[in-house]
């Protein structure tokens, strides 16, 4: 991600701000490849539950949460994952966004009962979680939405329509990053049985900080007591945002640390690691506020962009489809705010 700057906030923002579709094409390729790989895993019974049980019934909260997340990731200068890989390179603006996410996670925990009630009362289909439950066919969306983009992408690569001059040392073309990430993520799903996620990991960090600085308040928050069973490596383990050691602690926190550590080593090797100077005040506020919005959006939408776009979209989870529409709308709003208010 660091070498290609595979920034998911940039995917949407660049389309609205600059009519630049290069990252969007790379994300399409990644989702298409994952849809194809996961479908094959289903056919060959590598994945036991399909459509995955961890994507619940879709609700308006997925859409609204997506909008908040979309605005937040553009104002924050990166999504929850992008913030981590930039943090590892010494990016001070991303460190501010990171703090915003942590504070936003704690603030969202305070209003969790209202968010939960909104999500429960706006469920759209109680017994339908994936597109195949509506159209009655699992293969059709996979064929339509994965094979065609893969064939197009291959043609673009062969005809050189996917190349753009890049001068950064060790630059990895976006389409190559899409292939590499698709293989790694598919292998991770095959091994663990779950898509990658980081939003509950962030919330857990908020919980740990809450215990440290506001133990009495944190102890009373219902959000930090919720534990849900999660299928992981073929067995069921409990996990949640609470400040305890559970499946989230054992999976999401190592992933977060790995992304920060990986980009740190990569930037060090390329001679680019540096603790950057502080951004201008307006941008610093935007980064912090964007982080807070992302945390609130992820809680409302039951997951961040990593969970929904890389995890849910390839299996056509209805929650994720709603999230993507919301995030795209939010990114448009974020781009407008960025242009008119933040960067002047």
């Amino acid at each position: 991600m660091y070498r290609s700057d595979f920034c998911m906030a940039g995917v949407f923002r660049d389309v609205f701000l600059f009519r630049d579709y290069l990252r969007m094409k790379a994300l399409f390729l990644l989702v298409a490849l994952l849809a194809f790989f996961l479908y094959l895993m289903r056919v060959f019974r590598v994945i036991s539950t399909y459509p995955p049980s961890f994507f619940g019934a879709p609700s308006v909260a997925n859409l609204v949460g997506g909008v908040l997340f979309g605005v937040g990731m553009v104002l924050g200068g990166g999504c929850m994952l992008g913030t981590l890989y930039r943090l590892g390179t010494g990016n001070t603006a991303s460190a501010i966004t990171f703090c915003g996410i942590l504070l936003g996670g704690f603030a969202s925990a305070v209003i969790y009962p209202s968010i939960h009630s909104f999500a429960s009362s706006t469920v759209l289909f109680k017994d339908k979680t994936a597109l195949e439950h509506i159209i009655g066919n699992a293969a059709a969306p996979v064929l339509a939405l994965s094979l065609l983009p893969i064939a197009l992408a291959w043609r673009w690569i062969k005809t050189g329509r996917w190349s753009q001059a890049a001068y950064a040392r060790g630059y990895l073309p976006l389409w190559k990053a899409s292939f590499m990430m698709a293989f790694v993520i598919a292998a991770s799903v095959a091994l663990s049985g779950r898509p990658l996620a980081v939003s509950t990991g962030y919330a857990k960090l908020s919980g740990f900080l809450g215990v440290l600085f506001l133990p009495a308040v944190t102890g009373k928050l219902a959000f930090f007591r919720v534990q849900s069973p999660r299928l992981l490596y073929g067995s069921i383990m409990n996990g949640g945002a609470g400040p305890v050691i559970d499946s989230v602690f054992l999976t999401q926190l190592p992933l977060m640390a790995g992304v920060v550590g990986g980009s740190f080593l990569s930037s060090l090797r390329l001679g680019e690691f540096k603790i950057r100077r502080l951004p201008p005040a307006r941008q610093a506020f935007s980064a912090f506020f964007g982080g807070m919005l992302m945390a609130a959006g992820a809680l409302m939408a039951a997951g961040c962009n990593l969970w929904h776009i890389i995890g849910g979209l390839p299996v056509f989870a209805l929650q994720s489809i709603l999230f993507v529409f919301g995030a795209a709308g939010g990114a448009f709003l974020g781009a407008v705010f960025l242009r008119k208010i933040v960067i002047k």
């Binding site: 001068y167 950064a168 630059y171 680019e272 540096k274 960067i343």
Partner: protein, 83 residues
Amino acid sequence: MEHTAEDIVLDVRGQICPACLLITLSELNSNKERLKGEKARLVVKTDHRDATRTIPGAAFAMGYSVSVVQKERHYEITLEHEK
């Protein structure tokens, strides 16, 4: 050939993404006459890797020639009117 045009230095290090490109575009527009008249060239200092892709791409499309050099912990992108 010796370079005689004035350097307009734009330091956007530490700024959030995509401020580097937006500020550069704004600077290119406000100094358009001097740049097109080859009286000046724009030197952008950035520590954003992605800016080494987006700024040259946009500048090429606007008819500028681009050179990028990696300095210590940052990149220097020089934009001048294509001769």
